[in-house]
């Protein structure tokens, strides 16, 4: 069966993914809303930056984050000045890095959901006396609910599966930064193929169930 170290890594992974998903709901929603609605010339550049983690090798992203959070980096100096200390090789550092890494997985489904509803529902809401903020909560959010489900699941699953960024920022500290994917890597390095198999199987089944949920939740026909 799974060892205590395996269970510890799974628990850590779930905590990390849950926290990152929760943070990204708050950070990603305004960004997605802005990207879906703006006519600013900054839409292109900002959209590209948001999408960068999709194409960058995780080690590249991890490297830059490591430098930025290091003792001489801008983020590192800030966190030191605030008395938090340095973020690399801590759970908090892992959370911050994962937020960057998983950002597009939250923003893009939400942006699609907001864009596909068009401006009409918001115009209708305005003619029915709803202020823009009111219309956002009472019309846009409910209409984008499937998008939120997809975005949440994808963000969670993607954070569970990250490896490169974790290794660069978090290292491999049991109970602090050793997530499931790193634990599998350790098992393989130590030639413990049986242990690696069991943990890998758990990850495989988990990923499949997640995708099954996403594809089943997606409506078969567009709603009118």
């Amino acid at each position: 069966m799974l060892t205590d170290a395996d269970l510890q890594s799974i628990w850590l992974t779930l905590r990390l993914a849950g926290l990152v998903t929760a943070i990204l709901f708050f950070v990603g929603t305004p960004m997605a809303w802005w990207l879906a609605r703006t006519r600013s010339r900054w839409k292109g550049p900002v959209g590209a930056v948001v999408a960068l983690p999709l194409v960058l090798p995780p080690s590249v992203l991890g490297f830059y984050l490591l430098v930025a959070m290091g003792p001489n980096g801008p983020v590192g100096q800030l966190t030191q000045a605030l008395g938090i200390g340095l973020l690399p090789f801590t759970f908090l550092g892992l959370v911050v890095a994962s937020v960057f890494y998983s950002f597009p997985f939250m923003v893009q489904p939400l942006q699609n959901a907001f864009e596909s509803m068009g401006t009409r529902p918001l115009e209708v809401a305005a003619t029915l006396r709803a202020s823009p903020l009111d219309a956002f909560f009472s019309v846009a959010l409910p209409l984008a609910a499937p998008g939120f489900l997809t975005a949440g699941i994808l963000t969670f699953a993607h954070t569970v599966g990250e490896f490169g960024v974790v290794l660069m920022i978090g290292g491999n500290i049991p109970g602090v930064t050793r997530v499931a994917s790193v634990q599998i890597y350790d098992h393989v390095e130590a030639m413990e193929y049986g242990d690696a198999h069991r943990l890998a199987a758990v990850m495989l089944v988990f990923s499949f169930l997640v995708l099954l949920a996403v594809y089943s939740a997606r409506p078969n026909r567009p709603k009118g």
Binding site: E123, V124, A125, T127, L128, R129, A130
Partner: protein
């Protein structure tokens, strides 16, 4: 009621809208014109959904827009009906109706549901309240859309081609409801349409738009009877008269409609005696004679007086404006006939009306 002041100037690539109008503060005002003439843009500007960079908009003394003022849509006391019903799919019919009602102050200051109840009754949607929008037919959806706009107790109702997305049968299903609104509502209605039959049936006041400019504006019957600028509601020039059903002739299946000073016989469509109705008479269906023709198949023959003559679309044709009692009728005749009969303002003639359409 104070009029609605609209002065707007807006320029987009390939399109401009410029007008300075005072729209009546009561009754149904039709904004009529072909696609792309700017009628929907005008309505959206009035609603605040579009912002003309220059303009002044004042509704019954309240300034909605001028150089230093901009009242956002959700603070304007209006109801808006979109071309597609655009019901909220995540709410039931009742949820849709309550959405605006909850957010709008009731006329008495309390949260009285009067507007909502009246709207449900007027549009006949009582049995649909618990349904989801996707379970409604196209016509039902639009009725809910109209009721939703009325449920906010608006002081003006804006309708953007509410029937354009519906097929002929659905349209006929909704038109009677719109006529009821016309009879019962005390608030002004701005009704955007490119359909002549809707305008002839519903409008009291007509604003004709072309390429972003006002071509003509005035009371419907007067505006349609203008000779300098024959307004073609659809295929042909013609007038609309308002009247009351006065008599039913069972034997010949005819109804007598008394319009101002002129009685007309029309085919019996089953309308009740006493009902207010409108009839439409096209200029091409009216001919002019000097004497009353007794042996004729034409049922409607009236004495009239020539009011004015004008040019028609072809050099061979003339339009004659005739006064039959208080009713104004247009007739299309050739210039040759006009000359032969010696038609001139003031001349007493008989008109024969070949077809009268009960709207």
């Amino acid at each position: 009621m104070d009029p609605i002041e609209v002065r707007l100037r807006l320029t987009w690539p390939g399109f401009s809208l410029e007008l300075d109008e005072r729209l009546p503060g009561r009754g149904v005002t039709a904004l009529f014109g072909p696609s792309g003439c700017g009628k929907t843009t005008l309505l959206r500007c009035i609603a605040g959904l579009e912002r003309a960079p220059q303009g002044r908009l004042a509704f019954q003394g309240e300034v909605w827009q001028d150089a230093g003022t901009w009242v956002p849509t959700h603070r304007r006391p209006l109801g808006y009906v979109f071309q597609e019903p655009s019901l909220f799919p995540h709410l039931t019919v009742l949820g849709n109706l309550r959405f605006g009602q909850r957010r709008s102050p009731a006329p008495g200051g309390t949260a009285a549901p009067s507007g909502l109840d009246q709207a449900v009754e007027l549009l006949g949607i009582g049995p649909l309240l618990e349904r989801r929008p996707e379970r409604l037919s196209g016509g039902e959806r639009q009725r809910v859309g109209i009721a939703r706009a009325l449920a906010v107790n608006p002081r003006i109702l804006l309708m953007d081609e509410p029937l354009a997305a519906l097929d002929h049968q659905r349209k006929q299903e909704i038109l009677p409801y719109l006529e009821r609104l016309h009879e019962r509502l005390s608030i002004p209605v701005l009704y955007v349409s490119h359909a002549p039959d809707e305008v002839a049936r519903l409008a009291d006041h007509l604003v004709v738009l072309e390429a972003g400019r006002v071509l003509a504006s005035g009371p419907l019957q007067e505006t349609l009877a203008r000779l300098d600028l024959p307004i073609r509601l659809g295929e042909d020039a013609g007038v609309v008269l308002e009247g009351r059903v006065a008599e039913r002739d069972q034997r010949w299946h005819l109804l007598r409609v008394d319009c101002a000073g002129a009685s007309l016989w029309v085919r019996d469509t089953g309308v009740a005696i006493g009902r207010q109705v409108r009839v439409r008479i096209l200029a091409r269906d009216v001919s002019v004679t000097l004497n009353q023709a007794h042996a004729s198949s034409i049922v409607n023959t009236l004495p009239a007086r020539v009011a004015a003559l004008g040019e028609d679309s072809h050099p061979a044709l003339a339009l004659v404006r005739l006064q039959a009692g208080a009713a104004t009728v247009l007739a299309r005749v050739t210039h040759r006939s006009a000359d032969l009969l010696g038609l001139a303002p003031g001349l007493a003639v008989w008109i024969q009306i070949k077809a009268v359409a009960l709207l």
